[in-house]
């Protein structure tokens, strides 16, 4: 499509959302450090899959160990011996690899000489083979996302990292802007579009400058740069599309339905790593921060590394953390322990001291102040949704469009009555999924 396409390079501050303290200062200027190779890597496929290895097999870094039913491959992130392979009730394959400490790369890991000369369909297949998934948290295979969006007007590279504490995308853009731009060019070609925009937030000027320079160096004038408000959740996929283009992704639909393809900045860099360096998805950048970490920073981590090792790489715990949160303060999930492994969706690990999080407060009745209505980026009526979900009123939940809730947590954040709204909506959605009407 060679038609003209314009986007809003400086969209106004949105009426929705919340101003949250960013708490990014501790890590936003910390260079990417390499986390040590884990002695054991625990890997899982996000969907049902078939194992390609069995216990006792020797594997090398970058070797496929499982292939999802969606075609997306999972790769060994270290070289060594397969310690265990199991399949869960849902069909997901779990693989544990004992490291041999040598990190030898598999023969299949070779750079592609001219990825932009490949047919788009072949490029999409290679993205699937390389295990490239959305690193923003969705874990949806990029190759499939491209296949399911037949007519892409423009590619949107999401670098609007709006959640507090998290700086993994920002540091990636600051230090590896060229990889992101190259990845964007590859994804544009794979999507068959000649328009792209990379979005960052107003509070990351260094990243914007680095991108500006990288774009100038690449000489690719098809890729634009947009700076959006740092108001949370400006980096939500649907919110970003609305701010940049004015289009709304239909409820229950995908960005492709309105002609857009959204990819996280980390995903673009991973695509470039795959095709230009020959490295499938074996690592990602994770921010390790919070008052309960000795040396907060940004780490390039092999997937499957236990959280405990990653925290140890950041100097270990400091004080007695009240919570260990994977993700940010708004959408993150508190972990029961630090044994879980880093996945492709792990953007941030926060060891939060009691001071870093809100103290538990008794829930008061809703006083209908309307702050949640104001804050909701989906323009829902959270106070009415709450009443409907607590009464189990399925019709009302449908009328109020519960499904449009993105669980960003803004309503909780502003609620003066301390009502756990997001948790109630997540539970109501789960109840609806288990009991389809």
């Amino acid at each position: 499509m060679a038609d003209a396409w314009t986007f809003n390079a400086r969209p106004p501050r949105p009426p929705w959302g919340v101003h949250v303290p960013s708490h990014k200062a501790a890590t936003r200027a910390m260079s990417i450090r390499q986390a040590p190779l884990p002695p054991v890597a625990h890997l899982s496929t996000p969907t049902a899959a078939v194992a390609l290895v069995s216990a006792g097999d020797c594997v090398k870094s970058g070797q496929p160990v499982a292939r999802g039913s969606d075609g997306c491959a999972l790769h060994a992130t270290i070289s060594g011996t397969i310690a265990a392979v199991s399949t869960s009730a849902g069909g997901q394959v779990d693989v544990a690899i004992d490291s041999d400490g040598r990190d030898e790369w598999h023969d299949s890991c070779v750079p592609c000489k001219a990825p932009l000369a490949l047919p788009p369909r072949e490029l999409r297949r290679r993205l699937l083979d390389g295990g490239i998934v959305g690193l923003g948290g969705a874990l949806f295979p990029s190759g499939l996302k491209l296949d399911s969006a037949p007519r892409v007007r423009a590619l949107i590279i999401n670098g609007a990292e709006c959640e507090p504490w998290i700086t993994c995308d920002e540091i990636l853009l600051r230090e590896r802007a060229t990889q992101v731009v190259e990845g964007a060019r590859i994804l544009m070609h794979a999507a068959g579009t000649v328009h792209a925009v990379i979005a960052v937030e107003t509070d990351m000027p260094e990243a914007r400058i680095a991108l500006h320079d990288a774009l100038a160096t690449s000489g690719d004038d098809r890729i634009g740069l947009a700076v959006v408000s740092a108001k949370y959740p400006a980096g939500g996929e649907r919110q970003l599309i609305e701010m940049l283009t004015g289009a709304e992704v239909p409820l229950g639909g995908l960005p492709g339905d309105v002609g857009y393809l959204c990819q996280n900045a980390g995903t673009a860099a991973a695509a470039a790593d795959l095709l230009l360096l020959g490295r499938p998805l074996v690592s990602r950048i994770v921010t390790v921060t919070g008052g309960g970490v000795a040396e907060p920073g940004n780490f390039e981590v092999r997937l499957g590394t236990p959280l405990a090792m990653l925290v140890a790489a950041a100097g270990g715990y400091k004080g007695v953390p009240a919570r260990l949160i994977v993700g940010g303060p708004m959408m993150g999930v508190a972990q029961p322990d630090d044994a879980a492994a880093v996945t492709a969706a792990t953007n941030c690990v926060v060891a939060a001291l009691a001071d870093d999080i809100a103290p538990a407060a008794p829930e008061m009745p809703c006083i209908r102040c309307g702050d949640c209505v104001q804050a909701c980026p989906a323009r829902l009526l959270p106070h009415e949704l709450l009443a409907a979900s607590r009464q189990g009123h399925a019709d009302a939940l449908r009328d109020l469009h519960l499904d449009a809730c993105i669980e960003c947590g803004c309503c909780d954040y502003v609620c003066p009555s301390m009502i756990p709204l997001t948790a109630a909506f997540a539970a109501a959605k789960a109840a609806r999924r288990s009991r389809p009407s």
């Binding site: 507090p164 649907r238 999080i357 809100a358 009745p365 006083i367 209908r368 309307g370 009555s417 948790a423």
Partner: protein, 344 residues
């Protein structure tokens, strides 16, 4: 290492319900000071009676409902209702009148409907309306404003207390001698006598554009309201809607016949307009929630206020206007729902 689990988000607001209620009370302080400067110490007595009655009623109601006592007694909502009611009451009022209104507001209007957050009507205005209907004579016990050139029989705190406690003034003072009609009362009575506004405005209770004393109380109410707006406790839609409703409604009537309808500025500063716009109609529990709904709700409060003042049997209409709009609020919200992202 093991950690505690809990659901997110892990950050929370600094402004909780008790803080909001405290700010409303702070915001009322300038108006209360101005009120007692012009109309004597009766307001402080009414505030005490209403406050104590509100907390006692709240405690009894919570106890009967089996609700946590300390959590809700300390949320400040009962005190806000009490303060708003007291600010609307005449400064010379027997204590049992104030107590009846407050007990009704908290016990019946608030708790019979489920307590904080669930009441259909604004408790303070429902209490005020009850008193207006049950004790109409007492509710006219206003004093003339304390301005120098007015013939003013100042009552001491002790004399006011005596009246509050017993309902009687010392034998040397006649009730008729110390009380004075409010500007809205004067307007209604004199218009009923077929006098023109030019003649009525010559009455010494009228100042530059509103009632004397009332003009200043209104300014201090507005000051408190602006502070609430600045602090984000209230949002602009309801005050703007209500003030626009009052101004537009009264302007139309004034343009039609300036000799039988008071000017928009008079209406703005008369009776409960400003208190209603910033503190009463903005009570979130009984008002609309959506932005557009709040504008309509506010405008409705303003227009109905002017209509009642102009044509109905009561000199002021803010209380009844707010109560009427309380009933309509859910319906208005129903038609003002924002369009959900990605739909329609």
């Amino acid at each position: 290492m093991k950690f505690t689990r809990s659901s997110g988000p892990y950050w929370r607001p600094v402004q909780d319900v008790p803080a909001m209620m405290r700010h409303v009370l702070y915001a009322l302080a300038p108006a209360a000071a101005a009120h007692s400067f012009f109309f004597g110490p009766g307001l402080w007595i009414n505030l005490c009676v209403a406050g104590i009655t509100a907390l006692a009623t709240e405690a009894i109601a919570l106890r009967l409902r089996g609700a946590p006592l300390q959590l809700h007694l300390s949320d400040g909502s009962a005190l806000v209702s009490a303060a708003l009611l007291a600010l609307c009451l005449p400064p010379l009022l027997p204590w049992w009148v104030t107590a009846t209104g407050t007990a009704f507001a908290i016990g019946v209007v608030k708790h019979l409907y489920g307590g904080l957050g669930l009441n259909l009507f604004n408790p303070a205005m429902a209490g005020y309306a009850l008193l207006l209907l049950v004790f109409p004579a007492h509710m006219t016990n206003w004093l003339p404003p304390h301005v120098d050139d007015l013939d003013y029989q100042a009552l001491s705190l002790w004399q006011t207390l005596q009246f509050t406690a017993t309902g009687n003034l010392p034998a040397t003072l006649g009730l008729d001698a110390v009380t004075g009609a409010t500007p809205l009362d004067v307007l209604r009575t004199e218009l009923g006598r077929m006098r023109t506004l030019t003649e009525i405005a010559a009455d010494p209770v009228f100042g530059d554009f509103g009632g004397r004393g009332w003009e200043w109380v209104g300014n201090f109410v507005t000051l408190g309201g602006l502070w609430l707006l600045y602090r984000g406790i209230i949002r602009w839609q309801i005050p703007a809607g209500m003030l626009a409703g009052v101004l537009a409604g009264s302007l139309l009537l004034y343009l039609a016949d300036p000799q039988t309808h008071a000017s928009p500025l008079f209406h703005l500063y008369a009776g409960g307009t400003l208190l209603g716009a910033f503190f009463i109609a903005t009570d979130p529990v009984s008002a609309c929630v959506t932005d557009r709904g709040r504008l309509i709700y506010g405008a409705g409060c303003g227009l109905v206020t002017v209509a009642i003042r102009s044509w109905a049997a009561f000199p002021d209409g803010v209380a009844f206007a707010v109560l009427l709009m309380n009933v309509l609020a859910p319906l208005i919200d129903r038609y003002c729902r924002p369009r959900v992202y990605g739909t329609g």
